[in-house]
Symmetry: D2
């Protein structure tokens, strides 16, 4: 289904304001790991929380990171983004962030993040949660049905699992 030369896109989702230190650390590590694999990182693009952290991590490792901003201008974009796309879609940009992804990795939880993870499961995309609370893990496991969901203890576990999922998709084509 995917054309051969275009890079994989992995969306990293998580809270903006209110992100925990753990979520921010995890997101920065995830961004770095995605960049090291030569993949493209997608995120919500704002200069705060998990969005800013993943942009920082991917950028520091020389990767391409594209932010899909909710607003119509990029004044609030994370400065480390390769491209800051001001969608003007408001909250509907969450659905675009999931639609555009080959896989989704969640660091931390907020209502916006939950909406994205739920849409990822709905679309049957490979979805990894890094260090979720026990309650969140149970909820998303019950929600997932047959969608591929993985609860990871570390960023590298999450990225390694996504890699296996994407590779097995490819060989299954």
């Amino acid at each position: 289904m995917r054309t051969s030369r275009i890079g994989y896109c992995v969306s990293v989702v998580g809270p903006g304001h209110g992100a925990t230190v753990d979520a921010i650390d995890d997101a920065e590590a995830v961004g770095r790991l995605l960049a090291e694999r030569g993949w493209i990182t997608l995120c919500g693009g704002l200069a705060v929380g998990v969005m800013a952290a993943v942009a920082r991590g991917a950028s520091a490792a020389g990767g391409i990171v594209i932010g899909l901003l909710p607003g119509a201008d990029r004044s609030d974009a994370a400065p480390e983004l390769t491209a800051a796309l001001a969608t003007g879609l408001g909250e509907s940009r969450n659905a675009v962030l999931i639609s555009a992804a080959d896989a989704v990795i969640g660091c931390g939880l907020s209502p916006g993040t939950a909406s994205e993870l739920a849409l990822a499961l709905r679309a049957g995309k490979a979805t990894a949660l890094v260090r979720p609370t026990r309650e969140a893990a149970a909820f998303f496991r019950a929600l997932a049905g047959e969608a591929p969901l993985y609860v990871a203890a570390t960023p590298s576990e999450a990225v390694a699992w996504v890699a296996r999922q994407l590779t097995s998709d490819l060989s299954g084509d």
Copy 2:
């Protein structure tokens, strides 16, 4: 904030395929109750599950019910809708369904439904869950923060709570 003559819009969300009998019964009752109050019912518009049930209930009680369909044509619309709006937005129509609502009522749960409830909490809209599982109630309570969330035992409890929320908003203007 709201202009005076336009009707309240309440979005009713829930599973399409895979909806339980309880969720379908609840949705039909919610639609009827919203119509009896003279409010406008919004839903996802498809001819299946909770979407079809709420359209049936609202329509039978003489109410206006507007469906926001994901696709670009209305061939799969519930026939009881007053208006079937084929948005062409795919999964992004979930965000529109929440944005357009004064309040949101959930009957049953699926990944799509979870994405809508999460967006409702994010926007701080009055959100009622009818007979959720204990696990889902706990998850959304933790997610809600200060957003107004109510766990209702019956459709009429949910609609009565929404009515109080909307009225208190109005008096607070």
Copy 3:
């Protein structure tokens, strides 16, 4: 393709601020004529220009008129709307307004209006222009290709042509 009981939806498009007196008069008449046929009128929903006029006309004739607002709240909605749906989509709501329509009628011209008329032609929807300038008529005729486009001298000519188009679609099913 359309289910039998749901009403036809006709989108009326035109300038907000900067609408001419002619465009406003035409839009009000179009709204009235659509309501008299029992059809549902869709518009951009704002309390200004053609959007306000068509809401006024349809409402005065007892019709249902649904506004698709660009913003995330309805504080700027035309008060005569039956339902004011705050899409939160920004300019993307123009595409939804066209996607949701069985036919499109344009009164006056602005950049936003031109984007809507162009999308209507792209989708091959029945599209009528009421009293366009000679320049605009020539441009859209050249753009239309095989899409059904009609240049009407009056609102009633536009609505009568749309009626014939929708009826012939139906019989062709």
Copy 4:
């Protein structure tokens, strides 16, 4: 308004199927010129017409080119894209393509292209048309009002004008 390290994004719009040889040649040259300036090229992403040509040109010159696809998967993406973002938005992706751009360059004309150029003028973005027909140039000039519109005889004229517009915006901050 723009943060300093993020690259300029220029959207190149034009027909897919039905693009003329001139439009395709122009788009490929525009893509190359944008890449040579170190800017990011945005396009509609499909493997046909102007979208494919601009991806080819930008890619050959070592630039980053991001495609915003209408559908929910990337099976129809131009293979030269750096990133193929399957928005799932249908025709609403046209509005996102304009919202995300600092400037817009049109090569050739179709209904979809016209919708994008009209939205660019509505947003007041720097908009250049490469070798439009006399009729199209006249139409968009009349539509533009005070929006910055330029009719270019060649791709390099278009890109040079856009460069001056973006630079003067920056100095005006």
